[in-house]
Symmetry: none
């Protein structure tokens, strides 16, 4: 499914969150399809089940998955979620942070703008938009 980077400064459960989120967001996992069980995924990743569960809990809190007791964990449909300002702010903050990092690296203002405009256009092709 994906691999963990044990040397990363991100904790394991954060990596699990990011990886699953990416799989969901880019459409690699279909809506309402079942995720691997906590136990199975923990075995595959060779980590403790509690760690995986912590990730699942957070993913549910953020509205990416839902759990059905005794059945498993499933991917949310996009349409079912109302646009959540908190999430928008959170992600916008992450982008700002990354843009600052671009400046730190030494990218000029114009280049940053080009990068952002490029992303706005390309990501639309793959990620789609509301209308």
């Amino acid at each position: 499914m994906f691999q963990l980077d044990l040397r990363s400064h991100l904790s394991i459960y954060e990596q699990v969150i990011d990886n699953i989120k990416e799989l969901i967001v880019c459409g690699a996992i279909e809506a309402d399809s079942k995720l691997p069980s906590v136990r199975d995924l923990s075995k595959v990743l060779a980590v403790n089940p509690n760690t995986v569960q912590k990730s699942f809990k957070e993913l549910e809190r953020q509205g990416f998955i839902y759990t059905v007791a005794g059945k498993g964990t499933f991917v949310c449909k996009r349409d079912e979620k109302e646009v959540d300002q908190e999430s928008i702010d959170r992600v916008t903050g992450l982008i700002e942070q990354n843009v600052r990092e671009l400046y730190f690296i030494g990218v000029s203002r114009n280049e940053v703008e080009e990068i952002l405009m490029g992303i706005a256009k390309n990501s639309f092709k793959t990620g789609g938009g509301k209308k």
Copy 2:
């Protein structure tokens, strides 16, 4: 010079790094000018000198400052840092991921574009650019 947010979940030494980077990148501290000493800065910020020392070490490793034994710590010229295409690609990838997440959350294409334009402009004000 700047203020720390003790409540932030970023550790103090990371905040020190980020703040000094910010000051350097936006030009508030000129190239080759001297930074406050570890002892002075630790007093101003009311933190342990070890914490400041750790931040300076990391800033030096990242090529933002250099130390002259017995003299102090100084800011590197921007040109001395070569623009690292690999880093740019990595960060650009992260931003793309975040933008996909925005689409998934339900943000429309136009809104995403507005957000990106807003960041491009605001981050320039505070984060500065190469030219």
Copy 3:
């Protein structure tokens, strides 16, 4: 009769209890009228008969229904349930606690009053009252 929310974090047998209670309290099911059998209801709801059985047991324990061996399960008359002051005090205390939390969150007095008025009216429509 009613619908289950498999995604709810309330267990199914609790949902069955709540829904039947609701139907009884608002008068949708008359006193002494017969409830669907465990088997029938479990088919309609597409759940395990044991789950429905468990709900009926609990509803009987709480005094909402009674069973006649070989005949079926029936709804108790409202008057047969005595109003329990202790329970009222307990639940009232919980509501007071919630209201304090609203104030702490920063809701103004007027808004709290509006919220309470709204609940008093809406819950009557669906939840019903004694007379």
Copy 4:
């Protein structure tokens, strides 16, 4: 500080959340004062430190406390929090649930209204309002 009810159907970490929240909301713990450490509280309550930490994490998420790494956990000032619609909805939902329970117990509509109005007035005296 408070006591746990091991026979309650609420899990331990939920009881810890509710108890601490109540202490904060009714003003028993002053703003910016330090809560017992995770380890200490876990000893007092005779539960596992992880259980207490789980409660603290959720309390922080809901905006009642904040943590300072290496220092401890502290109570948020009310003024620092912007009114959070999500929290209002959550608490309003809890009140609705309790009101339904009142109807179930057999309280008449008029009595429920009286109870709610009484709470609105009394809780204002102790809990205070925004203006």
